[in-house]
Amino acid sequence: MNLKELTIKQAHEFLENREVSSVELTKEFLKDIREKDEDIHAFLSLAEEEAIEQAKKVDERIAKGELVEILAGIPAAIKDNILIRGAKATAASKILENYIAPYDATVIKKLKEEEAVFIGKTNMDEFAMGSSTENSGFGPTKNPVDLKRVPGGSSGGSAAAVKAGFCVYALGSDTGGSIRQPASFCGVVGFKPSYGAVSRHGLIAMASSLDQIGPITKNVDDAAIIFEAIRGGDELDSTSVHREWEDFSNPIDIEEIKIGVPREYFTHGLDKDIEKNIRAVIAKLEKEGVKIKEISLPYSEWALAAYYIIMPAEVSANLARFDGMKYGFSEIKNSKLKIQNLLDVYLKSRGEGFGDEVRRRIMLGTYILSAGYYDAYYKKAQKVRRLIKAEFDNVFKSVDIILTPTTPSTAFKFGEKTSDPLSMYLADIYTVSVNLAGAPAISLPCGEANGLPVGLQLIGKNFEDVKLLQIAKLIETIIKEDGHA
């Protein structure tokens, strides 16, 4: 069996037809991880016993002739900022090195109901802050396509695990591109649902008005399957939305589709070979009868600046909970430090437990929210966010989806951007607007440039996730026919 290509649908059929058991499948993945993950480092921890135990349960049900859910018995990898009860959840931070989750995230609860098998927790940038996994407190993940290059981030471990064939699918989280950018760098599918579509309960918070959990998969069908499994309103996340969703399997007419191509996403900084790939797909779509319209999103010029105000502001508030007293790394009992009061515990524990990028963003947020700067920075950024959202709403009056490159460059080399934080931030230039608007977006593999995967991003209107996935599936088929991927 080719584990690298194995999709959810295929795995489910293999299990149902008893061509393979869930235990065999799980052991096969674990064997591969043990042999190859030393080089890639996609995982921070494995759950071998628990995975096999769960796989056995599914096998017993299948042996009895019971019908099982589509995700039953299928091995998945979970980003390490999503809580699985009884398993470590470090968010790749030293401050949570020994933290064991006391409850399940809602998405995990939902996947458990479908009897999914959790094979391990994946590496990431510390607290999801970064675009390369180089900010992980436990060493970077390498891109399975080229070990000298980063897998992207922050969900780099999840994207690498899917690409390397260490799991059938993975969960990631996306605050400014953290699912789509690594999916693009590794050549897999990454889907960020609309803000509010998936419960964030049990996701270690980074920036609460931007964070969203989503799948990283081998194709669009699988992304739709996971989205169906994890979406839905949740009492434990008051920003999640209860609604009826359309049926992904309904047919759509290619000649009815209108796609907007924003000229601002093809200007300065875009790699010429990436542009060539994306333009070739656009030409192909037009030939198939899709209506292509050039559009303009002028405020996207300021999206990254607005993002680097709103995100750190929320980060500084969210990460205040790491106080060295309730859980996580603490200097409270370090006798060498002469801890005398509460402030000492905070300063020492947080100073030692957080990495550079995390401290940078906490300080940035603290500064931005401090008296005298709040209006000039934070309030201004929130107003620009409104303009960005309005601009998307306006464009979606005349097009169904927006098509752009996912990233301005392909996967870069280790160390290339670590000395200059700003150059790293620019890796997210095409993805952050989507989070500010709360819109759904997906990155699809779209051939190669200089031997490295290229990602094509499709952006949908808020809560038109299903329509976005349907169109994405059509485009995926066209890209594959064309021999791009």
Binding site: P102, Y103, Y195, E235, M325, Y327, Y377, L422, G438
Partner: protein, 98 residues
């Protein structure tokens, strides 16, 4: 450009311990990012309302009742056991008042 003194002040407000060498590095890094976000001064936001969240939902409430999903006894024990210092079912912290 932020001064070392300003970085010290911000770090203290953020409750972060940073070393002497780090102060200079953070001053440089933060100034770079602050320089970049000044870009927003180019945008005219007159009469625009700030957008606070990711959805249009407002003031979502739930009944204030104990739900077993949130805390069973085993979970309570796990939560408390994660604390570095505790006593009789409470988190133990250094004195606040002298």
């Amino acid at each position: 450009m932020l001064t070392k003194k300003e970085v010290e002040k911000i770090a203290e407000l953020a409750r972060l311990g940073i070393s002497e060498e780090e102060k200079e590095k953070f001053a440089k890094d933060l100034s770079l990012v602050l320089g970049y976000i000044q870009k927003l001064s180019e945008v005219n936001v007159e009469k625009i309302e700030p957008m606070a969240g990711g959805t249009n939902l407002e003031s979502i409430t739930r009944k204030d009742i104990e739900v077993k999903d949130i805390a069973d006894d085993e979970m309570k024990a796990d939560i408390l056991n994660a604390a570095p210092d505790k006593e009789n079912g409470y988190f133990k912290v250094p004195s606040i008042l002298k």
